[in-house]
Symmetry: C2
Subunit: 682 residues, 2 copies
Amino acid sequence: MDNKILEKLAKVVRYYILLSTTTAGSGHPTSSLSATDLMTVLMFGGFFRFDFAYPDSPANDRLIFSKGHASPLLYSLYLAAGVITPKEILTLRDFHSSLEGHPTPRFKYNEAATGSLGQGLSVGVGMALALRARISNFEFRISNFPKVYVLLGDGEMAEGSVWEAVNLASYYRLDNLVAIVDVNRLGQSRETMYGWDTDSYSSKFRSFGWDTVVIDGHDYDQITEAFKTPAFARATAGKQNSSIRQAQDKKFISQNYKGRNRPFAIIARTVKGKGVSFMENKDGWHGKPLPKDLLDKALNELGEVDLKLRGKVGKPNIQTRNPKPEILNKSKIRNPNYLIREMVATRKAYGKALERLGEGYPDIISLDAEVNNSTYSEIFRKKYPDRFFEMFIAEQNMVGAAVGLARYGYVPFVSTFAAFMTRAFDQIRMAALGEANVKFCGSHAGVSIGADGPSQMGLEDIAMFRAVHNSTVLYPFDAVSTEKLVGEMVKHKGISYMRTTRGETPVIYGNNEEFPIGGCKVHPLKTQNSELPTSRLLRQSGYEGRARLRGAGKSQNQRKKKRTVLIIAAGITLFEAFKAQQELEKEGIEATLIDCYSIKPIDEKTIKKYGMQIGRVVTVEDHWFEGGLGDAVLNIFATEPRVKIYKLAVSKMPRSGKPEELLDYEDISFTAIIKKVKEVLQ
Amino acid sequence: MDNKILEKLAKVVRYYILLSTTTAGSGHPTSSLSATDLMTVLMFGGFFRFDFAYPDSPANDRLIFSKGHASPLLYSLYLAAGVITPKEILTLRDFHSSLEGHPTPRFKYNEAATGSLGQGLSVGVGMALALRARISNFEFRISNFPKVYVLLGDGEMAEGSVWEAVNLASYYRLDNLVAIVDVNRLGQSRETMYGWDTDSYSSKFRSFGWDTVVIDGHDYDQITEAFKTPAFARATAGKQNSSIRQAQDKKFISQNYKGRNRPFAIIARTVKGKGVSFMENKDGWHGKPLPKDLLDKALNELGEVDLKLRGKVGKPNIQTRNPKPEILNKSKIRNPNYLIREMVATRKAYGKALERLGEGYPDIISLDAEVNNSTYSEIFRKKYPDRFFEMFIAEQNMVGAAVGLARYGYVPFVSTFAAFMTRAFDQIRMAALGEANVKFCGSHAGVSIGADGPSQMGLEDIAMFRAVHNSTVLYPFDAVSTEKLVGEMVKHKGISYMRTTRGETPVIYGNNEEFPIGGCKVHPLKTQNSELPTSRLLRQSGYEGRARLRGAGKSQNQRKKKRTVLIIAAGITLFEAFKAQQELEKEGIEATLIDCYSIKPIDEKTIKKYGMQIGRVVTVEDHWFEGGLGDAVLNIFATEPRVKIYKLAVSKMPRSGKPEELLDYEDISFTAIIKKVKEVLQ
């Protein structure tokens, strides 16, 4: 397209950036103005291809504003494209507007919630991977293949998560990913680390295996040439059967691509506030709209602006396809097949469940941070190698990429140790704000992992995931409930988290038992002799002798009246609670247990019913005292002043040791439960 | 030192790596063996200088095992140095041993808790910065200057936090920092991203401004030469007045150092399992000790091992100095000086407090993630530029570096938006496990920030910090309490967090009021007309009209009986509660307010007393429903069967808008409080 028309369109964009932010009374005009020319050329210069009628089509190019504070630019571009009205853009940052301060899913052309810096490129990595898989068996030129463009600020290049994404994009040779770095030199309060040293950014990208070009971000010829690079200069014909597996296979790639198959970064030297002389390259204007009295002056500087002018965004080069629907082939979903009392670690059942469900749900994808032999996502990997992505030890990028994959309808399951989920809390938080459909599984939860010590013990994961908007938090006890709950996670939309245990626990549920999210299982004392853990079970697990020892000397005739208690536990502590239940019976105490496998949402109705009936509740969890199962239970009884809740949880600094030693040390073992119950009943 | 002796020492080290892990039945021998030669030469080859009598001396070199799973190597090195006995090392991973699975502070020569990968270099950055400041006005050769050595694994190089640290070390020209990358090619489950491509690591480090050398990590001559590089090859004489300020001043550095002043990385190609032929460079041995039957075979391969041999660790090159004590010059600490009803944002009071306390506490250091003009740490920065570190937008490294600074007795205050604290949750968690004395301040908490939207709203920070071991969580309402609580944070040891508010709130406390950690302030209705927020105050803040409007039409004579309620709030919602208190009085409802400025520990005694007296408690917080103030209060009344708790908290997805709109939308405004109180009293 003619530079003159592009320049006219850029004026329209700048006009609305200035007007909308002044009208809103807040926002980031200067950070928007620096990238205006780059984005105008991308969008209207024949590069960005998008079918507004099918925004979810995988044939579309995609654009992510990692520098989410430049949202006035994003919205102004869509105004210049004719899909936002001048009236609408002036609602920027209004309570009832979809044009929020930082982009959210409320704006329908937005790909991901951004605003916490350094996350957009990870989402781009996930989308670039997804595209490879969605557009398969398609004869194409690389120039036709849809691209994912990510606009980054120079300030956010200090975030390590950006380099995680840069690293992985290179590893998977994502040549359909284009990063545009808007090097406007100025951060919020000062110059960035590298100022206008664009070569420094370029050499970093190159050291990670990217191709780069350094340009003047306000020179239309240079910008145009830069965008041509990924689209045309590297174009080579080739029949491509781009299943995800092949995308991961270096040999396949080198045989089938004749280009260099590197992701591409455009490093653009720009001027913050470009277009308004008194804002250009000046400190003190970050995040500040023009006051009304300066707005006219600024708009005058733009010269004549053709407010009616609209740009044309090209249609995709390849046939429009809607996202592949999530296919559920029920006949292909086998039932789990465990034996009662079989000892199975829930982490292993997680892997088996993924594998089992994988056939019926072809959109399930597994991502792991180089611990797939610990989380047991390896069981899925071995069966479906083309649907497993090794994300290496980079949890932040793993979560961001999962958000990108989910954008194309995939159902990503993200697994690592529960402890290391904390590494990606900000990404998880943003995934929730972006209403992403991402599943998490944290293994090795709690002190019961033993010898590896506190750094490996997930003890804050429940608190963390409970505090994520609209999340689901699950913590199964046995293999059957684990498998069933993984199935529930697949069907459930939104952020859900499953906590699994390192050690083995006995199967106590039948293979046909159902475990709806928001439910629980009640284990009254009287069922002890049927399918539930019995002395035989305890004998198997080597606990019986110890339990008997401590119970010795007490006569069952010491019972005076019926003494009852409700014990609420989940995961490993339910095992302890079962043992306590049996011991307590000998002393005439009737303990009813609740397997609270769904911590959020929690089964308020059932728990309330039993709690009100029994009156005394003991909660036990292998998690810090704060924010876990106990707190979830407290909320149920907040306004029920007839029920007393006693919490057992981890409160001392744990250490290396044997699982039993640690459970005892933290007062969450069966002996601690027995002690607490007796205390409560006195 | 003679290579032959070093080789003999390495045999002792390998012997105990194998023996201790087999004895423990778990642990990481192969990851220890790959770095054994590197570490043996460092420690006993005349490079590492350490006075075991004064482990905290800043004259000592320091060693951080970022790859914490190589702890058997760490402990075996100290055995070879003669400070751990053969008996002690066989307690590895025992419950009563200080030799944990991953290093913790229970091992007295350990510098930082590691085990969550990718964090050690950040701690090293902090320590290298601290050393510059601690050893000031000292005439030295760079060769004499204490160094910080960090051992990294190749797998953890995928963590973005490593690159944050690499970036910042280069920016601050930390030539006393040496990274040693143990490139043993194999991760936990597979080959790392770059295998043995040592040049790839080298070029990455160089692109970030480091010097590097690539060596064979088992060749003693090459290892020796490599360690000589930072110590001697770049040595230049120079009188150095290395205050922190000067360390940040590029011009000063370029004038005073004649070397290149770059941090230094040794990239060592190594063999995982080196020394045991059947473990060498083999998959499947990660994190696995030798079974007993293979141990003898492995030990035989070592050949003759002189188990009595001990190596000598040199004393520091410069005079031993104990850490500078924390100086408290009370006369230099001015009192805050606010006027009742003055409108001040607590974030600003935080900055003022730091500045005010800075003189009396010379060890206070401020770190900020490029938002110091928002968190107001800029007030401190301007007064004490040499004690402020710009950490740029890299929160993970910021927290790790703070841990390193604290290791030398500094009192680091880490500030950014509360929302972005989530970025460093893993580092915060590890700081707690390492018993680090680090202070955090998160600004812009809650939906009350308004127009910027949910990505900028800290809504999970209380849940997150409550779930940190032994943490303190503070949330002041006004400027005086903020200032006083910053003072309490300085005196308190351990992880403490303060949450501050973007908007202004009125000063309600006198400058002499005290705010101990674990306390609260009770505001009964009757004090409304004295020093506390009054109608005048509300008039000032423009709320009165609105409040009056909603209260209109209700006669004060409608009171029938004394109706009472206890409202517990903190920060911005306390402002709403004050307004509600006044309105409710008109309707004959007596609301007692508690300013719960200390959320952890919480003032159980006072809150329980008032709660039991009044019986109905409403909590209000600008935080997600889960894990915040309300849950802390629930815990107090868990076993008090006479008190009903009603929680008001953020539960809908927030959005851009005006602060009042958002408080209303989330039902945490004064109108929501009034509504809830009336409901409760029905």
